[in-house]
Symmetry: D2
Subunit: 223 residues, 4 copies
Amino acid sequence: MEPVIVVNLKTYPEASGKSALNIAKIAESIVRETGRKIIIAPPQPDLALICSSVSIPVFSQHVDNVKPGNTTGFVPPEGAKAAGAKGTIINHSEHRLVHADIEELVERCKALGLLTIVCTNNIRVSRATAMFHPDYVAVEPPELIGGNISVTDANPEIVSGTASAIRSVAKGVGILTGAGVKNGRDVAKAIELGTDGVLLASGVAKAKDPRAVLLDLVSGITD
Amino acid sequence: MEPVIVVNLKTYPEASGKSALNIAKIAESIVRETGRKIIIAPPQPDLALICSSVSIPVFSQHVDNVKPGNTTGFVPPEGAKAAGAKGTIINHSEHRLVHADIEELVERCKALGLLTIVCTNNIRVSRATAMFHPDYVAVEPPELIGGNISVTDANPEIVSGTASAIRSVAKGVGILTGAGVKNGRDVAKAIELGTDGVLLASGVAKAKDPRAVLLDLVSGITD
Amino acid sequence: MEPVIVVNLKTYPEASGKSALNIAKIAESIVRETGRKIIIAPPQPDLALICSSVSIPVFSQHVDNVKPGNTTGFVPPEGAKAAGAKGTIINHSEHRLVHADIEELVERCKALGLLTIVCTNNIRVSRATAMFHPDYVAVEPPELIGGNISVTDANPEIVSGTASAIRSVAKGVGILTGAGVKNGRDVAKAIELGTDGVLLASGVAKAKDPRAVLLDLVSGITD
Amino acid sequence: MEPVIVVNLKTYPEASGKSALNIAKIAESIVRETGRKIIIAPPQPDLALICSSVSIPVFSQHVDNVKPGNTTGFVPPEGAKAAGAKGTIINHSEHRLVHADIEELVERCKALGLLTIVCTNNIRVSRATAMFHPDYVAVEPPELIGGNISVTDANPEIVSGTASAIRSVAKGVGILTGAGVKNGRDVAKAIELGTDGVLLASGVAKAKDPRAVLLDLVSGITD
């Protein structure tokens, strides 16, 4: 599976509105230059605008297991797709979902042709989640999220353990990791530990020079 | 206060993505032709794109009382503003909020210069909500939402009762009503009962000819 | 209105199960000795047992705005009443409720003959809540809850301000305050500032000698 | 594994307060007479009282993944245990939980010596849940809950399919089924399809003669 760098802009002021669009365009230019794969997940209100402005895959940060229609202010998978999203993050640690809803959302997204990245917090939950066969499972130990030490240094066992646990029950499910990931070295280590890439946020969203950070990150992907 | 027609597109497939943009442009052209006031609240993922595409005020359907930053998939008021929104609906009956959060969100929006429409379900809750001094309180009896009979016919007392209850405790707070509102006659009746306009959704969002419906609605506003 | 001391045992291990019963019996004996009024709100699973064991009023810590029946694990007002509760706390800062649900719960409790204490966080929310005419509004500034400084010292203006704000819109609604309340002096000060008593938790629930603490607290009530 | 009948009294008025205690005592007497295994889950406020009144195992209907202490109105596993519960239902379809919380609650309950019954809605979710190794997984198709046709007649494949799916990934996890279960014939069928018993509610909770219904149910268990 081709390694990927997934950038979640969360709701950082430095990465909302025009700044979100700016970062998306930088990512697009780096993809063009390097041929590597970057996915960007902008703030929900910016989704359609960024989908219409860049050619790299844009993901929704979240979808709700609600029906399209009388669900004011929510985002059903159909709404993410209508906005132009190619996929969605599901069950991010900051926006967790009821168990049965994760399963239904993965099914609904598959039917719509939306790719899915389901977030998890440990090996056991990762393995259970893999049985829903999303496109990716992204394991992030909650205690390391937003910190300065990459999960690949702080807890390499959870990364390799998740990778082997998932591979043993569900071949074909991609494996991402995140929490504290900041540079190309972390990306290289994540891949070495058996993953298909990383999910990160503040390292890019709050960067003074997002281009330099993204270039560094993709440098961790080698053939 | 100038009467207003607030169109909530909810998450209707007929009013998401390109269709949301289409309805927003129709509303803009009618405002240009008639000089009446229309506010449009598109699906959350379409917010920034529509804000950048039309000159009429565009509102967020919902905001969350969360801080900008580590709040993946939510929409803090700052995120709605960065997307270009001029205001927001708060506490829609399909997306209700904790009491203290309503008060805080009204304050946060005021500080950001975002207009607020807080939804309520009866006279008592409307009067209590008016004490937070949002720009508008919009009363919608839940049992009539999505139905065929306009609140102005089914329960005119709740409309006039809300109007007088709010005026007695909080002058300057605009009053809207909704639920079953479909045409210019309903709009005229709502204004006659003491409101400053209507909040409606399916009547426009699911219309075969949104232009005709919107033209009919604004015809209910007379000098 | 007769001053009251409301003791919320929350879910402290030191005040759950047999320990909850023990504290309730101590409170009962102090009421018998002093003639003062104490209300106790034990952990939810201990409610019926304590109601059947002591003669002082026992309150539920929370009720949910759900129908009795297919609502596994929730506590509708009818369930609290069937367990023997004389009233309930509503919208505690640790278990907040949607605005419209607070209004409905106050109405449902009134119809069942259950007394209501609705918690609030500031003057504005307190005044709005008083318009629902619960038996008591209990204002607790969130930043002081669980701390060592009593709200009556740290922010006496919020106490007196809430008292006068509520009295101006809804005579007959009792006023409580809480956050950091620890002893008889704090109780006396709360009453002096215009309230009808206090709501407290850890001061009693985690006390090594709950009898001594409760005796001290009631000493703050004078004729 | 010894077959079991788990009776969830939900919040039915016919099975709250004194009526809950009455049904628990009937169940206890039937266990004494027949030697079969019955677990009862009363309304949350009745938990401690019923635990102290009967010798059969009493379960909490729900636990929250919160810490004991500042969590007013919630029920942490420690609170259920302090009340005397022997176990708990987790993630009932009427009170669903976030995925990671299910895993943590199973771990917390194990550490406390509380038995766990985790509810699920289909085969895929059941298999994923079994990987958390609760004591029981209870599959209940949502569309059949509260209806008149037993899941064992309406959808025997989901019962046998869940049983074999769970057995293939997690030996030692008990399997229950529910939804529409009413009598001994349904119990016998459930066991025949590979389960270790049933989870039911209204059939007992709303019965005019709970003793007759419970006797009929246990008659479905044969050696």
